[in-house]
Amino acid sequence: MQDRDGQERGAAQNPNADNPSQASSETSVTTDSPASETAAAFTGVLKPLGILDKGVAMFEAAVLTVGILAMAVNSVANVIGRFIFGQSLYFSEELNQFLVILVTFAGVGFAARHGRHIRMSAIYDELPDKLRKALMVAIALITGAIMFLLAWYSFEYVYSVYGTGRIAPVTQVPIFLTLVWLPLGFMITGIQYVLTALVNLTRPDVYLSVTVVDSYEDTETQL
């Protein structure tokens, strides 16, 4: 997302720049986007898919929230265990590794949905609207294709880990179970980018993601 209020467009257009106190380090994301936004890609026959998409979005948000809080609880519990009970939680490290994978790969799709992936858009931003739109369609399609490819490779990889039967030493959980998020996350991300291409092809504005319009008027979006 970061490029929408790019310097190239002139800091003056960036409300944050006008009022530095607002350009806070605020890191939170408004994820309950207006219905019209979420539905951007899902018009006509695609409407039922919109419901599914919303469900996926809510699931991702829940996974991120729970994942991060679980990491915090798990790590704090480990410290408390060591200090108060003189007993480290040996599963703590394995649980955290699992949570990092979970959060990363659930978050990739979520970030794609909200146009939050980091880009260097200095050149892209200089292009006229039409060209930007065309480029965005190409970027979205190629990115989507690469995500599908990774979904396939990660499926193969997870399957081969399943084949070896490797287990986590402490929790004795089969490693492949901790990895099932990979193919899923990449696939959801791929779908997000295909949808982005679709929205750009069917709508007048330039869309950065299904929910985020990449245009001058939109610079104050909270995302």
Partner: protein, 425 residues
């Protein structure tokens, strides 16, 4: 092959692709066109990139920083600092640089520093009139001084790979680290002068004491981080999670500034930022792996004919190799791969391995803050939601300072070795 990978990466980057794509595409080119091995391994290496358990400190410090920024702790702490330095020209800039250095030194994580110190202090600096690009560059570059001040993972890895005393490395890093902090502070002062950043009226001691009293609870944070880690109570990773626990207690129960739902929202956004940064860490790890698997650095450096070079040439070559390597590849991998390649040269010339280690650590620190691929840059972009260009715009003067210190270190090694000799010789 290296050329094809790097060109692909840079072209896709400039076209405005999400940054994970240039990294992944370049890696895929390696796998699909050049390597005789299944591309599933790319997935394995992406996972390996986000496996180190110390990485947990990053989301934990993001979470803690966001909680205290949304609540009151950060404001109270900064108010206190401002009562003491607000009347000094460039005081806030210097305080920011020093805080980043201290926090980074202790936590060992430059990314966590960008978040934990940069998060709360950036709005204050903008309000005081510093430009955003200066502020961001100051935060990112000051955070990287962390690598030079113990405990430093980069130095531990170098020590193990090269067989150098880690204790000596730790001490040797302190001099250059403080020198850089000094120069950054001087630059902040000069910047404030030139841009005529207004100062605040000098606070009375009464006002100062009031501010300190208001910040008593939040002073627990520096206590946990600095006292907890240097006091041997927590590991840096643990300190991060203790900060989270303390932040939640403070803001929810004592200041009552946050509701449970706020904490949930903050956790969600922390998760998002973590994912955005970690997917790049993962993709970067896969990219590094291909480079390492194909022994590309060996091929490039083998062709340079450094065998007959003198000490200065070798030190400069080392600096450049690590600087360039860290621009594109994860610093730890760069150390693991390059140190053994240079080891015979260093031994042959009888160079002090502690000096070489300090120089290398410095280059690694610079590399993490320089484009195109620097973890701290990604973190800053994700946290502050600023465009890539904005985040790196203010960097050049800092890089110039850092390179100056590199040169000084080569010309005048006592900057690093003086303290070492004092302690060990």
């Amino acid at each position: 092959m290296a050329t094809a990978m790097i060109v692909t990466m840079i072209v896709l980057l400039l076209l405005g692709f999400p940054m994970m794509v240039p990294l992944i595409a370049a890696t895929l080119i390696g796998f699909l066109i050049y390597l005789p091995i299944p591309p599933d391994i790319m997935i394995q290496q992406m996972l390996a990139g986000i496996r180190p358990s110390a990485l947990i400190a990053v989301p934990m410090f993001i979470l803690a920083a966001d909680i205290i920024t949304k609540g009151q702790s950060a404001d109270r702490l900064i108010d206190m600092v401002m009562r003491f330095v607000g009347h000094v020209r460039g005081g806030l800039g210097v305080a920011t640089a020093a805080s980043c250095t201290l926090f980074g030194a202790v936590s060992g994580s430059t990314q966590a520093t960008v978040v934990a110190i940069g998060g709360p202090l950036r709005p204050r600096m903008l309000k005081s009139g510093y430009s955003d690009s200066f502020t961001l560059a100051l935060i990112i570059n000051s955070s990287d001084i962390a690598m030079l001040i113990p405990p430093s993972i980069a130095m531990i890895i170098y020590g193990v790979v090269s067989g150098t005393s880690i204790s000596e490395l730790f001490i040797a890093g302190v001099g250059p680290g403080l020198l850089i902090l000094l120069l950054f502070s001087a630059y902040a002062y000069v910047y404030a002068r030139i841009n005529d950043i207004p100062t605040e009226p000098k606070a009375s001691w009464n006002e100062r004491m009031q501010a300190v009293a208001g910040a008593v609870w939040p002073l627990g944070f520096p206590l946990i981080v600095v006292g907890g880690i240097y006091g041997g109570i927590f590991s840096p990773t643990e300190a991060a999670s203790v900060c989270v626990g303390y932040a939640i207690l403070l803001e929810m129960l004592i200041f009552r500034s946050l509701k449970l739902s706020d904490v949930f929202d903050i956790a969600k956004s922390t998760g998002l930022i973590t994912a955005v940064v970690f997917i790049l860490v993962a993709a970067g790890a896969a990219f590094s792996w291909v480079i390492s698997f194909e022994r590309i650095p060996q091929a490039i450096l083998g062709g340079l004919g450094l065998a007959e070079a003198g000490p200065y040439t070798v030190l400069i070559a080392i600096s450049i190799a690590f600087f360039v390597g860290c621009m594109f590849v994860d610093p730890i991998v760069v150390i693991l791969v390059l140190v053994p390649i240079f080891a015979p040269l260093v031994d042959g010339l009888g160079l002090d391995p502690v000096l070489v280690g300090t120089i290398i650590t410095l280059q690694v620190a610079i590399g993490s803050a320089t484009p195109p691929f620097g973890c701290d840059i990604f973190t800053a972009i994700a946290i502050f939601k600023r465009p890539y260009i904005d985040v790196i715009r203010g960097t050049p003067p800092f890089v110039v300072i850092l390179l100056m210190v590199s040169a000084l270190l080569i010309i005048y090694p006592p900057i690093a070795l003086f303290l070492r000799d004092l302690a060990f010789r």
